[in-house]
């Protein structure tokens, strides 16, 4: 059974490889995004050395690594699931002796792996070449960051799965999916680091899962959060991973009860 799940990763990876040309343009778009934010922040900093504890160099590195991390953990599981629910092909998934959501997660991971190898790594190389990015020299930081990135992927996928499953309960969850996308980008700290949020909002963020996706790992990577505190970041990520399982299981159970396959 396990080998079947692994096969789903392999298959999605190969499928992405078949359509890889789509992704070359993606690298350019991400580079443009990073560039735009780089110049924006440069203007905001002006002559100031640090803002909210970020030096301009740390900010550039934060931007680059956050966007590149997004390239890896971003996936369309919400859309995939919602589409399968809406067109009724989720029925086919139920006649197979596997867990639908795990299969989806594996497919997402196959996609993530592809994006990591063919998007994030070359993208980061290009960005480092253009902008003054300070990559950490300590290999432990790199390894810690990579491990955190796996959690980023898992937590983001959980949010996507939840959003997708909403299609069981509402006729159209398009709006919800868009809202989720904006919320994840904003609150995870890809667009603005959470340290820049107004006090009340950043304390609200402490109680939400989004910071565990980008902000906390990127802070470790840029050296803003010392490596010694990496343990507490892992704990936060792990707690969210477990907590988010609960609504997913509840929704999945409820969905099985009311599963109404469209088109008879």
């Amino acid at each position: 059974m396990m080998s079947a799940y692994l096969d789903f990763i392999r298959m999605r990876f190969l499928m992405m490889l078949a359509y890889r040309v789509n992704y070359y343009s993606g690298i350019i778009i991400y580079a443009i995004n990073i560039g735009a934010y780089y110049f924006l922040w440069k203007a905001i900093y002006g002559s100031q050395e640090t803002l909210a504890g970020f030096s301009i160099d740390q900010m550039t590195t934060y931007l680059a690594i956050s966007w590149m991390a997004r390239a890896f953990y971003f996936n369309n599981l919400d859309r995939d699931i919602a589409n399968e629910i809406r067109d009724g092909s989720v029925a086919i998934q139920m006649i197979r002796p596997y867990n639908y959501l795990i299969v989806k997660l594996m497919q997402g991971f196959g996609e993530g792996l592809f994006r990591f190898l063919l998007f994030m790594i070359p993208g980061l190389a290009i960005v480092c070449f253009i902008f003054p990015v300070d990559l950490p020299t300590d290999p432990v930081v790199w390894l810690t960051y990579l491990a955190m990135l796996v959690f980023s992927f898992l937590i983001n996928s959980q949010l996507n799965i939840m959003t997708g499953l909403f299609a069981f309960f509402v006729e159209n969850n398009e709006g919800l999916m868009r809202m989720k996308r904006v919320m994840v980008d904003l609150f995870s700290g890809v667009i603005i680091p959470i340290a820049f949020f107004p006090g009340w909002l950043s304390s609200v963020m402490n109680w939400l899962p989004f910071q565990a996706i980008t902000y906390l790992p990127s802070s470790i990577f840029t050296g803003r959060t010392p490596l010694a505190e990496a343990g507490s970041v892992f704990i936060i990520q792990l707690v969210w991973l477990v907590v988010l399982l609960i609504p997913i299981v509840v929704m999945w159970r409820a969905a099985r009860q009311r599963l109404f396959v469209q088109g008879g």
């Binding site: 059974m1 080998s3 079947a4 096969d7 789903f8 298959m11 190969l14 499928m15 078949a18 009724g88 092909s89 029925a91 086919i92 139920m94 006649i95 197979r96 002796p97 596997y98 867990n99 006729e171 099985r256 009860q257 009311r258 599963l259 109404f260 396959v261 088109g263 008879g264």
Partner: protein
């Protein structure tokens, strides 16, 4: 042993009611109204192992909903359900390993990859040992002539090719029960026949239980010893196909071509002693309706003995017409139904003299 045991099975859906107009839409925003639709209404039936059973009914009669409950996709509202020793929705992952399902309207192969890769993935999903898998695949490929299709991506297959691949995909793990939901929809007669022959052979050789829904009654005639007919969520007929025909066809029609002009009164005179009906088509042609309770040869004798005859054709009601009649009246019980519908029930020809 029973392959499928269903008792008082019921499925209700909550369907949103959309109120009319702008104010209705506004009200819907705040308070939804729902109606309960009973798709399957307390049905009970049993299918022993090794039987091929046809499950028929009009669109929306609840066939697909039943199949979806039997395969563990839907959770029933109430009732008892036992398929292949499992309660489908409760032990879904274990249960589905023992069944095969084909939905004629949906593909279960992966669209972007080659057929053989789909099969290999299914092997892993169903935990089929490699030897068994290879043996079974060889058999199926040979039997359904898939040889040259195996390396093509699914999206490049024609419907007939795809449907044969779907069948193979649902049978690779050697299921004890196979559910086929409209497996021959949209297929040409050659592929249909091939699939029917294949299913029949599989049933004979391996004792696979098959439950089949279809709108093509030729599928039923070719395959099924038993028919369950569903209307509006309830079973209206459960029994043999032959019985269905004999209970529902009310008689035979015989068309005579006379060698001389016949008037309607002359015709009536011929069979005045019997309870039969004449329809005169033109001067030389007339049709005699003989109900089952009337002695057929006697009626024939009377006509043949009393008039000069050039040709005789006997029409027997076919299944399509019988089923259409049942769908229209909504019940399979033999009632004192209108005899005039009998006229359009006539099709199948048997030329006796020509």
């Amino acid at each position: 042993m029973l392959a499928i045991d269903v008792k008082d099975l019921r499925k209700q859906f909550k369907v949103q009611k959309n109120r009319v107009g702008l104010s209705g839409a506004f009200k819907d925003l705040f308070k939804r109204e729902y109606t309960h639709v009973t798709a399957v209404n307390d049905i009970t039936f049993q299918i022993p192992q090794g039987e091929i059973c046809g499950y028929i009914g009009e669109n929306g009669a609840g066939k697909s909903t039943t199949i979806k409950m039997l395969t563990g996709i839907l959770v029933p509202t109430s009732g008892e359900l036992n398929v292949n020793g499992y309660v489908p929705h409760r032990d879904r992952e274990k249960f589905v390993k023992g069944i095969g399902v084909v939905f004629g309207q949906r593909s279960q192969l992966w669209w972007d990859i080659g057929v053989i890769e789909s099969f290999q993935l299914l092997r892993k999903v169903y935990d089929v040992p490699l030897n068994d898998f290879n043996r079974r695949l060889d058999q199926l490929v040979e039997r359904l002539h898939l040889g040259e299709l195996l390396n093509r991506p699914v999206r490049k297959l024609s419907l007939g090719q795809r449907m044969r691949c779907e069948l193979v995909a649902s049978l690779l793990h050697n299921p004890a029960i196979v559910f086929l939901d409209e497996p021959t929809i949209g297929l040409d007669i050659v592929v249909k026949t091939e699939i029917r022959d294949f299913l029949l052979e599989m049933n004979r050789q391996e004792g696979t239980t098959i439950l089949l829904t279809t709108h093509d009654l030729q599928d039923i005639e070719a395959l099924c010893s038993r028919v369950i007919m569903l209307d509006d969520g309830s079973i209206i007929y459960d029994g043999g196909l032959e019985e269905l025909k004999t209970t529902w066809s009310k008689g035979r029609e015989i068309q005579f071509q006379f060698g001389e002009a016949m008037s309607i009164s002359r015709l009536h005179q011929l069979t005045s002693t019997m309870n039969v009906a004449w329809t005169r088509e033109n001067e030389f042609t007339a049709t005699l309706f003989v109900p089952h309770e009337v002695n057929f040869s006697e009626a024939m004798g009377l006509v043949v003995g009393g008039a000069q005859i050039r040709d005789i054709k006997i029409f027997e009601t076919n299944t399509d017409d019988i089923v259409r009649g049942i769908y229209q009246t909504g019940s399979a019980e033999v009632k004192e139904s209108e005899d005039n519908t009998q006229a359009d029930h006539v099709q199948e020809k048997e030329s006796v003299l020509s």
